[in-house]
């Protein structure tokens, strides 16, 4: 037993003061993805074992009861729709305004297109595929297009990145870069402008109206590091001016850049984390949708750290997190398993400012809302 029950009990007692809300769930199979499909719905999918489940879950209604929270006893997730995938799922994205999700897995050379379903059935059905040029063990990275016609931006290496229309399979745009660097992440900034982050930290910015892409390598790129990125925009579909990009390396190095000047990051800092190459897969940096200049980091261990970047400066020491969620390390499941769980991904609630959902390698799923010692007193 790694964590004694005393430490775990202590943490739960402490949580009375440190969390406003805390909900701990156990999924049957761990997930690497959390994708919002509605105000109150998320999709998760299995990545262990050959046959994986995709589930659309309804968040506990207690979170939405507002004034009447006391009278609402509904604290459970409801499985609203479920389906089976023939391969472990590495990425899952939802196409806004539809009931369509696209997944990429670790064993096939296609992207799978699914219909999550409506009221008449609870089965998630596969409706089509998009053929890829190659198979990638890490799965092809995918991002939803932001145009009216549903499309998906995908690629496992830079030269293969393309934008495909879902309904027809037509290729709408291809990146004309001869680079075999692997893609760590990609995302549209608005309907036409997109960003790709390579595993070595290089950023590529493209526009679907323009065949060329600009690339911004790191000033001193250390080999062996893996980079992930998180994009923050002030309002969606806007000009690139209001956007900030955070890049995080597997050694905890953090760069913040403004989209108008990707060449020189306006802030660099080193987070106090442990480097472990085996967990590169789970590296995640996300910006809070409501809180100003707040970002969250996970994937190094069983913790999710929240930082306020307002006071970050390039020369200062390692910034202290505003809050660290250690729940995954304290769960009952963690006690009995051989190795401590690692947070696979996390996601901010769309509208509740301090609510985060996080999942870990042991199948735990937490929904939590922390107490800000300064502002919440």
């Amino acid at each position: 037993m790694d964590i004694s029950s005393d430490e775990s009990d202590d943490w739960f007692i402490e949580s009375l003061n440190t969390y406003k809300d805390l909900h701990v769930f156990q999924l049957e199979h761990p997930t690497k993805v959390i994708e919002w499909t509605g105000d109150k719905n998320i999709c998760v999918a299995g990545y262990t074992g050959s046959r994986s489940e995709i589930l659309e879950l309804l968040l506990p209604l207690k979170l939405y009861a507002g004034e009447n929270q006391g009278l609402c006893a509904e604290r459970d997730f409801k499985v609203q729709h479920g389906g089976f995938s023939e391969e472990p799922i590495e990425s899952l994205i939802h196409i806004s305004g539809t009931r369509c999700v696209v997944t990429s897995g670790s064993s096939s050379s296609t992207l799978q297109i699914w219909d999550i379903g409506g009221d008449d059935s609870d089965v998630i059905k596969r409706t089509g595929v998009i053929n890829l040029k190659s198979t990638s063990v890490k799965g092809c990275k995918i991002a939803p297009g932001l145009t009216d016609e549903p499309a998906v931006l995908h690629g496992s290496c830079i030269s293969e990145v393309q934008l495909t229309e879902i309904a027809t399979g037509r290729v709408l745009y291809t990146v004309a870069k001869e680079s075999s660097d692997s893609v760590s992440g990609l995302q549209f900034v608005n309907a036409c402008v997109f960003l790709i982050c390579a595993s070595d930290g290089t950023l590529f910015m493209g526009d679907t109206r323009d065949p060329s892409t600009c690339h911004y390598p790191l000033e001193d790129s250390k080999s062996g590091l893996h980079w992930a990125f998180g994009l923050r925009s002030d309002s969606s579909q806007s000009e690139p001016s209001g956007c900030t990009v955070a890049r995080l390396s597997s050694s905890g190095h953090m760069l913040l850049s403004d989209l108008r000047n990707l060449q020189s990051p306006f802030c660099q800092t080193q987070l106090n984390v442990q480097h472990d190459a085996s967990k590169n897969d789970f590296l995640n940096v996300s910006w809070a949708p409501v809180l100003d200049r707040c970002l969250s980091v996970s994937g190094f261990d069983g913790t999710v750290h929240i930082y306020n970047t307002i006071n970050w400066s390039t020369e200062g020491q390692s910034p202290q997190p505003v809050f660290s969620h250690r729940g995954h390390e304290m769960s009952d499941e963690a006690k009995y398993s051989g190795s401590p769980p690692v947070v696979t991904t996390h996601s901010w609630h769309q509208s509740r400012p301090k609510t985060i959902l996080s999942v870990a390698t042991d199948g735990s799923l937490h929904v939590w809302d922390w107490v800000d010692k300064i502002t919440d007193r």
Binding site: D9, F12, I13, S15, L16, L22, H23, V24, F25, Q26, L27, E28, R51, E53, L57, P60, N68, G70, L71, C72, A73, R75, D76, F77, K78, V79, Q80, H81, G82, G83, F84, D120, S121, D122, V123, I124, S331, D332, L365
Partner: protein, 594 residues
């Protein structure tokens, strides 16, 4: 084909009550007899007209089994047994038998005395009903009659809750009632052996949920209590004597100790006596931890929890009080509530379901003004919290249970089929079994493949073994010949000779003969010799003998050649075979070839 029939009583998508009819091996069993708590009229009772249009149910049912004391599983029992009419046995575990009548009486009082309803059972009916109860122990097989046997398994969920296995011959059904697969502070988790029933019946109400952990529910409870006490308020927790109360007390005691809190916690005296009494009776039904503590000290000798005196309710300052009854419908908890309701610093925490008509039910529905006796109104200013601690199995739990019991078929009741297709697929694929989801009032037939055990005589067994071939194997059935004697209640398989001997009949041998005419100039013996040689060359795999007495024997077929003196060249070939070999393929083959 033999089958098992299951009908959940009720109409449409009603999930408020459990009452399931099962027909197995010619026996009819009623599983649970719950009351629907959402209705005020006769719709709350199960519709027994499915069993019989009019008259008593006794001759139509072999037994009734109640899984646990919750009203949606036993609330209609006195109505069924005393008002509709049933005199057969009613099975339930010891704790259920002890607690049921208390809950039923409470429920009756609320419904009749408070709400003034008339078509309802009386106190005497509850007593008469309980006289028909036969209590069950865990893991003990009970013979209901010569053919029907039942066995109870631990279900967790509440004190005394059981899952039941029903067996007739080699067909069996397991009904889960309500159960949970994770242990909590005072109850263990459900457990069953690999009994491989033909059918496993389970509730599906929570099948599509993922439950929040017990720890978090407890955390919320402690948070609310702590916050109220910190601001100087009073917390009222109305409880039923058993179950939650003990659990919550243990929780608060631990918390108070850890946080070094000073506010008093009280437990109303009625509660202590009753609880102690029941716990002593049913200690084996709780989990290991409780049993250990009970041995070391009295359940209710807590450091921080003291016996309540009604005068304490007027004391100033913060406090926490556990009081009965659980739905605030009468007694001490209602008295305390009336005193504390007007202060918004105070809190009442309702740990469970409240029946319509009770104050508990009203405040949980957000009512802020209550009408009390004598036209007085009570303003509800205190904070009302609804916390559900009940333990139910979710989707993961159902899969775990199926893994444990290994049923051949699965049946889920009280779910909407179109909302459960995914679960059905999941079960069918993971376990390769069929999953049924009948609507209420709908009958599902599950075909079974029962084995009939038969005693085989040693001689016959030896004979079969001597025939060679593979040894008897459950996975590779083979056909054998014998005579089945069904006498008294036994089935025996013996050789035909033995059967004839036992029946005092003499054996007759039938032989068939056929004549084939053939022109051949040779002598009889030569002709026979030629036939022999020919047969030897074409029937290579069969044993052919040329016997000196003038016959050729192919397996069991005898061939003779004769001719008459008048026509020596007209040979008559006699073929003769016995009845036993007449139908075998080999004989047919030989006949054709010949």
């Amino acid at each position: 084909m033999p089958d098992i029939k299951v009908t959940p009583l009720g109409a449409g998508q009603d999930v408020g009550r459990s009452c399931i009819l099962v027909s197995i091996g010619g026996k009819n069993i009623m599983l649970d007899c719950g009351m629907h708590m959402g209705y005020n009229d006769d719709r709350r009772f199960p519709d027994f007209s499915y069993i019989t249009q009019n008259g008593r149910l006794t001759e139509f049912l072999d037994c009734v089994i109640i899984s646990h004391f919750h009203l949606d599983h036993c609330g209609a029992l006195p109505y069924m047994s005393e008002m509709v009419g049933y005199d057969g046995p009613i099975y339930m575990t010891h704790p259920t038998k002890a607690i049921c009548p208390i809950l039923l009486e409470d429920f009756r009082k609320i419904t009749v005395d408070k709400k003034g309803e008339t078509n309802f059972f009386t106190s005497q009916m509850i007593k008469d009903c309980m006289k028909k109860v036969v209590p069950l122990n865990l893991h003990q097989t009970v013979q209901v009659d010569e053919e029907l046997e039942i066995k109870a398994y631990y279900a967790g969920h509440v004190l005394g809750a059981a899952m039941v296995q029903i067996k007739v011959g080699s067909e069996s059904v397991v009904y889960t009632g309500d159960y949970n697969m994770t242990p909590d502070r005072h109850l263990g988790a459900a457990w069953i052996d690999k009994c491989r029933p033909d059918l496993l019946i389970s509730e599906s109400t929570y099948a599509t949920t993922i439950r929040d952990s017990k720890r978090c529910r407890e955390r919320d409870f402690l948070k609310k209590v702590h916050e109220t006490v910190e601001r100087g308020g009073k917390v009222l927790i109305p409880v039923f004597a058993l179950g939650r109360a003990q659990e919550l007390c243990i929780l608060l005691e631990t918390f108070w100790e850890r946080m070094n809190l000073k506010a008093p916690i009280y437990f109303s005296t009625g509660l202590t006596e009753k609880a102690n009494h029941y716990y002593k009776l049913f200690i084996t039904w709780t989990n290991q931890k409780i049993r250990k503590t009970f041995v070391q000290r009295n359940m209710f000798e807590f450091k921080h929890i003291k016996a309540f005196d009604r005068s304490y309710a007027d004391n100033p300052g913060p406090m926490v009080v556990f009081a009965t009854p659980g739905m605030l419908h009468a007694g001490q908890s209602l008295l305390i509530f009336k005193k504390w309701a007007g202060n918004e610093k105070n809190m009442v925490i309702m740990p469970g379901y409240c029946v319509q008509g009770t104050v508990g039910h009203k405040i949980l529905n957000g009512q802020k003004k209550l009408e009390m006796e004598g036209r007085a109104t009570l303003d509800v200013k205190l904070q009302v919290e609804y916390m559900s601690f009940s333990a139910h199995a979710d989707a993961k739990g159902i899969m775990q249970l199926i893994r444990m019991a290994e049923p051949r078929n699965m049946l889920l009741v009280h779910g909407e089929a179109k909302k459960m297709e995914f679960l059905k697929d999941k079960i069918e694929q993971e376990f390769s079994i069929s999953c049924y989801m009948p609507a209420n009032g709908e009958t599902t037939s599950i075909v079974t493949n029962p084995s009939v055990p038969v005693d085989i005589s040693l001689n016959l067994l030896k004979r079969e073994m001597a025939l060679g071939g593979p040894l008897p194997d459950a996975k590779r059935p083979r056909t054998m010949h014998g005579t089945l004697i069904m006498k008294d209640n036994s089935l025996r398989l013996v050789s035909p000779e033995q059967a004839l001997k036992e029946l005092g009949l003499s054996e007759h041998q039938l032989r068939f003969t056929c004549r084939v005419q053939l022109h051949d100039p040779h002598s009889d013996n030569d002709t026979l010799g030629r036939i022999y040689t020919h047969l030897k060359s074409v029937l290579k795999t069969y044993s052919i003998q040329h016997v000196p007495d003038g016959t050729v024997i192919v397996e069991s077929i005898v061939i003779k050649v004769t001719s008459s003196a008048e026509e020596p060249n007209l040979k008559v070939i006699l073929l003769s075979w016995s009845y036993q070999t007449a139908d075998s393929t080999a004989t047919k083959k030989k006949k054709i070839q010949l």
